[in-house]
Symmetry: C2
Subunit: 188 residues, 2 copies
């Protein structure tokens, strides 16, 4: 079972080591982890004319198309939500009807994180919370924007939430491993 | 031609009026705009047992599946990137090979916005920029995470970037209308 490993892990200083660590955990549970850093076998010749950013994007899309499932690191990244590239890939995988597993090392819910981010909130006439621009804050008790949580649930995947000290936010792989175990369960 | 109108516009205080305004612009150019706020005709009976957040998510996914294209408001939302729900939907549409049009009222590129967000950056040995956690900042000169920009380009859509005063960030619809015109061009 091929599992695409989405996440801002590719931005870590030791990104190659991190990819190897994630793959080793996958292998321990009988899965083949595919990293966004992996070169695409048989990338079309025509791609060589494309800028690097487009080659990376097309390779990642191709990796997801050939994966059986996606495990996404949804730990909040530069704002209340997960990394944008990761969220894109969760949506991409969901449209392809792949099981999507999400993990996050931040146990605060999306409303709590959003409120912390925007600072001041006020309740409107319906009791909904709004920021200074009048923009609504989602308050469904979910981990991120409802499209993400709901997609994971509907896809047959799982969302694993753990609370780790902020210093270990980008190193603790317990939640990741729990996703791997869950995905391996699907492989039956 | 049915066009799904993705964006954090649904969080505006006047979200219903905003949806009507976007649809009116679509109609003027011969397109049928579909809002995330639109009820889904013939939603499965089984959905009634689901929590509201999941009903909304499934309806939006169904709207995108029945749309011919997506126009996404990528104006940065609570962080350097676009709204997470919108980004999810861009990925979803891309996997379905729909043309995706993006618009943003913030002309600063992703690197500039990310650097402003993280505050302090330092160059590593390769000259790449990293934040306090050592996490890389993308510096491709794109408008958002490379998955988003590249998907729009590869999809046959277009990315329209305008620089509007911050007070008009959630009201100016010039970039949106330019996307509508471009999408209408595809409809031939």
């Amino acid at each position: 079972m091929r599992v695409y490993l989405a996440g801002p892990d590719v931005f870590l200083p030791d990104a190659a080591d991190r990819a190897a660590a994630l793959k080793a955990i996958c292998a321990r549970h009988g899965l083949l982890g595919v990293s966004p850093l992996d070169p695409l076998p048989e990338a079309p010749q025509a791609w060589q004319a494309l800028p690097l950013s487009q080659r990376i994007a097309r390779a990642n899309e191709a990796h997801i198309r050939t994966a059986d499932a996606v495990i996404a690191n949804l730990t909040p990244f530069r704002g209340p939500s997960a990394d944008a590239g990761t969220v894109f890939e969760v949506g991409f995988a969901r449209a392809l009807e792949r099981p999507v597993f999400g993990w996050t090392n931040d146990a605060a819910d999306f409303f709590t994180r959003s409120r912390r981010f925007v600072g001041t909130v006020t309740a409107d006439a319906t009791g909904a919370w709004r920021d200074r621009d009048g923009m609504l804050l989602e308050s469904f008790g979910l981990q991120d924007n409802l499209m993400i949580d709901a997609a994971i649930l509907a896809s047959g995947g799982a969302l694993v939430v753990v609370d780790v000290p902020s210093a270990a936010r980008w190193t603790d792989l317990d939640a990741f491993e729990r996703c791997v175990v869950a995905a391996a369960g699907l492989a039956g």
